[in-house]
């Protein structure tokens, strides 16, 4: 298991993110449970998970193409 490393903010503080009602409407549908699970992982583990997801998506596309033939 890789060591935990979330990185550290460097440089100037970026100004606060201003509210936007459209973005806020989209935020209501975000599944925060998935985000919380990801935040428990190291950065490296997040990329390993992404690569697994890519493999799965590739396999689904292949299966879909085969089914349409």
């Amino acid at each position: 298991m890789p060591a935990k490393d979330q990185g550290s903010e460097a440089g100037r503080a970026v100004v606060g993110v201003r509210p936007d009602p459209v973005i806020d409407a989209y935020k209501r549908d975000i599944d925060r449970t998935l985000l919380r699970e990801n935040l428990k992982l190291t950065v490296e583990e997040r990329f390993l998970k992404l690569m697994e997801l890519q493999r799965f998506a590739t396999e689904l596309r292949r299966a879909g193409q085969q089914a349409r033939r």
Binding site: G7, G11, G16, V17, R28, I30, L39, L41, V43, L50
Partner: protein
């Protein structure tokens, strides 16, 4: 499929100066969305362009979506004459940006980058707040959901409870 681990190692081990942006930067910050390519803003100094061209050259970079057989040569001169390149490589899809809308060049983003350690190397990644700013400035409707997720991540990082209607 993009081999993120090998791309990170390749760029870092050749001392290419770059900042991770886009969907992969969102992944680094905890995004649950699928992204298929690696987006980086590279520093446009002659030395860095030479390092970038040298390290990618062996991995057959080619313009993504272009018909096969075009006389495309990826070398320092090509990178110097161009700015942004969307490439396929043996290691997967790689987008090289000299500048990004709403963000500018490497030097404009550098101060808002964080260092991340992964796959045995250290890379710069655009900080979460600046990533949100850049995506918002780009103004693309397809980014709305991704921006909302990044803002939710910011809330989670800052310990803010979801507002009414958010899970």
């Amino acid at each position: 499929m993009t081999d993120f681990a090998s791309l990170f190692r390749l760029l870092a081990q050749h001392n290419v100066e770059f900042i991770l942006v886009g969907g992969a930067a969102a992944t680094a910050h905890g995004s649950a969305r699928l992204t298929e390519d690696l987006d980086i803003v590279y520093r446009r100094t002659p030395e860095n362009i030479a390092r970038l061209a040298a390290c990618l050259g062996a991995h057959h970079p080619y313009l993504r979506g272009a018909p096969p057989g075009l006389p495309f040569r990826f070398d320092a001169e090509t990178v110097q004459r161009g700015l942004n390149f969307t490439l396929t490589t043996d290691l997967g899809a790689l987008d090289l940006f000299g500048e990004i809308p709403g963000g500018g060049a490497f030097e404009d983003l550098q101060q808002d980058a964080i260092e991340i350690k992964l796959f045995g190397v250290t890379c710069r990644c655009l900080g979460l707040r600046r990533l949100i700013e850049v995506k918002r400035a780009a103004g693309r409707p397809r980014d709305l959901e991704a921006i909302a997720e990044l803002q939710a991540l910011l809330d989670e990082n800052e310990g803010q409870a979801p507002t009414k209607g958010e899970s």
